[in-house]
Symmetry: C2
């Protein structure tokens, strides 16, 4: 699979210069890596595309081809696959649709049998392609190159890749849209990513998993080494029907998937927002033992946070005598009568009270991470508090801190500062709790 993700040469079969075609989108994207690899455009009609020479068939290409990307119409895909196999390419991606998802499973199986006979790995059909930002590889029709990072994102759905790339919040090591998974499936990619040093977290969107035993075997092993966070769609009966016409998946019973994911150590989430939030937290913050501190300047929001923690089994340790006496010694805390976890700094808290609260709680042994909440009250010093939080995160790097600076324009620049310094901020306390939940070792 290394040849697929780090190709020295790519052939695009079905390259095009017609406006608003997939063939043109792919050609443009692939060309961006021109300095790093040989690129061959293949298309019977044209002699030149985007200023590059164009071959009639892949057989006409003289050099070695590591990765063949196929974007020709469905009916001629099989013929092109045969040519790619004859050429002994390192791997094949079939972007083209019109197979199992359209009721045409027969041809998909034929293609799979061909590539397996030749021992050439195949991604797709009916997919968006792959990206490897670090080596400037965009063999997909997503129009933007995402940031380099340590999240590997595997998706049965192509549109989701576009969404996550367009958000531009996450950094990626590898992105794979694997579509109908005729040959390579999610488990194969997860297995490959286990030893991929660029990848710290694996995020997965799937509708159905064909080989459940294989998945559980591989996921159980890999999740011991790096976290896997996943979302499944096609849970309801109506959703399963919709999934069948989307990627041809048999979606299966959700409760079975829930049990299997739990057993395999995979974090199964409910929404896309959670998938992205959890991936971000896992990619940037350290894992921790159970036991979280909550600091807030708004009592009600603190109470809600406690509720969500209880719901997810996150422990909120009582403050020890040492911590309480630390807080008592601090002048800024004088007005705070109730020194407990959650620690309500009260509405008139200035940043010095945040400093006292955050550091005292971080010092307590069984508080392994913090949720810090700030609401925009009359005297709140969001920006100063944000700076203090970043400093204390640097001082106690092994304890993850997530923030929940709530509001709009008053908190915007503080949030920007937090995020720029690797402290995630969430617009809802439940999102913050879910994110830290992903970090708690169990």
């Amino acid at each position: 699979m290394k040849r697929i993700f780090n190709p020295k040469s790519i052939a695009l079969i079905g390259a095009s210069d017609e406006l608003k075609t997939v063939g043109l989108g792919l050609a443009k994207n692939i060309l961006k890596g021109k300095d790093l690899r040989k690129i061959y455009f293949v298309n019977l009609r044209d002699d030149e595309i985007l200023g590059e020479n164009c071959y009639d068939t892949i057989s006409d290409v003289k050099g070695k081809v590591d990765l063949a990307v196929i974007a020709v119409p469905g009916p001629i895909v099989k013929k092109v696959v045969l040519e790619c196999c004859a050429k002994k390419v390192g791997g094949i991606i079939i972007i083209s649709a019109g197979f199992k998802e359209a009721g045409n499973e027969k041809e998909e199986i034929e293609i799979r049998d061909i590539v397996r006979k030749y021992k050439i790995p195949l991604i797709g059909p009916n997919c968006l392609g792959i990206l490897n930002p670090k080596v400037n590889l965009n063999a997909s029709f997503a129009s933007i190159m995402p940031k380099v990072g340590n999240i590997a994102f595997l998706s049965q759905s192509g549109a989701l890749l576009d969404v996550v790339i367009d958000r531009n919040e996450l950094g990626f090591s590898k992105i794979v849209s694997y579509g109908n998974e005729a040959d390579l499936d999610e488990s194969d990619f997860i297995n490959y990513l286990k030893t991929d040093t660029e990848t710290k977290v694996i995020a997965l969107y799937f509708e159905g998993i064909k080989d459940g035993r294989k998945f559980m075997r591989i996921a159980s092993e890999v999740s011991k080494v790096k976290p896997i966070v996943a979302i499944k769609s096609g849970r309801s009966n109506k959703g399963k029907e919709a999934a069948a016409t989307h990627t041809g998946s048999l979606a299966g019973d959700y409760s079975v998937y829930q049990a299997a994911m739990k057993q395999s150590g995979v974090i199964l989430v409910d929404t896309l927002e959670e998938l992205f939030d959890t991936a971000l937290t896992l990619s940037t913050l350290p894992m921790c033992e159970n036991g979280i501190g909550i600091i807030t300047n708004g009592g009600g929001v603190g109470v809600l946070t406690v509720d969500y923690c209880a719901e997810m089994g996150i422990e909120i340790p009582d403050l020890t005598k040492t911590t309480i006496s630390l807080l008592e010694k601090n002048k800024a805390m004088a007005r705070v009568v109730n020194k407990s976890n959650p620690l309500d700094l009260l509405g008139d808290a200035l940043s010095d009270r945040y400093a006292a609260g955050v550091e005292s709680l971080l010092k307590q042994k069984d508080i392994n991470g913090l949720i810090v909440i700030s609401t925009p009250q009359l005297m709140t010093e969001h920006e100063k508090s944000a700076k203090i939080i970043v400093e204390l995160r640097n001082k106690y790097p092994m304890k993850p801190i997530v923030c929940c600076f709530l509001g709009g324009h008053s908190v915007a620049s503080a949030i920007k500062y937090l995020e720029a310094n690797g402290v995630p901020n969430y617009t809802d306390v439940k999102r913050a709790v879910k994110s830290i939940n992903g970090l708690v070792k169990r």
Copy 2:
């Protein structure tokens, strides 16, 4: 209560010109309504505050006082309340804390008994105050005046008001932080709002409800006339403890509250984000019968949407022969083989396909509302689609449309256009489904 929300005169007892005090914050906010009402500052120490004459006690004020706002230290609150009663003010708000939430229930009861004897309604103690944007009334220490709108927001927590006001997304008819509810409680406000013509939706944050029977009787009546959406904190044992020290509430068993809310026709939500989302949807969109259409250019996101609908009991009617034939006749739909609900317009959908899909589904009788999803794919025309959606919403105003334009910079201006034209957009499909769920009559 009319005198409280539309006062012709306000006295602020405990007005101050010391920096970063509640007394100064309140004084500044109340002064903003100077052109609309008489304002009296009361404070023993100063002769003048912010250029206004200052009275020693409220008894020294010559004119009638509709609303007395008390922000003096806890220990002298009772004395001031007695003076206000002697002055026969129209209503009292006690901002000051230090009562039931601090273990001092005795004095709170004494104060309640005093105002009840004089038949003067009391809000608080331990609250942030009230706002009525339409008459430029900010008798609170929230620093910004929110937009005028038709949402009434009642909150036991003051900090939450700051959050929602700072977000500046919602428009309000009335905002009330009612704190310890020594006298007036959530039910009294809900009852008042029933006939308040400025209010279309009532949103409520609460920790505990003291008089459950009263609440159920009033909420059942009011929810028939206007929707009530509520969030409760203090659900877990640990959360209940935290609530007790916050507003002195006995939080009670959550399952009992869930049942009571359901029976009273109150929409109970899980997160603050949902509270704000649902309030916004209810305040701007029409209610509808069950039966929703889903339109998407990304199959996977469509499948997820179906799952969330199933989870919440939202029906996804099959397309009728008439609708299918309408779609078949439309050229833009030629490539879309699978004409069903959810309607997957496919990744290469241009805005004409959105136009065809949205109008055809809106025409179907048992499709009573729409969720329209757009993901940023190679050729997606977000802005054009947004314009089409707004036009069709205008053409079919009785069927609510919520959008889910997913992504980042590619969709930003389309989202801005949608929101400016009263079509809510959500950053996660589950949020969109939950919002439309609030509109479905049951």
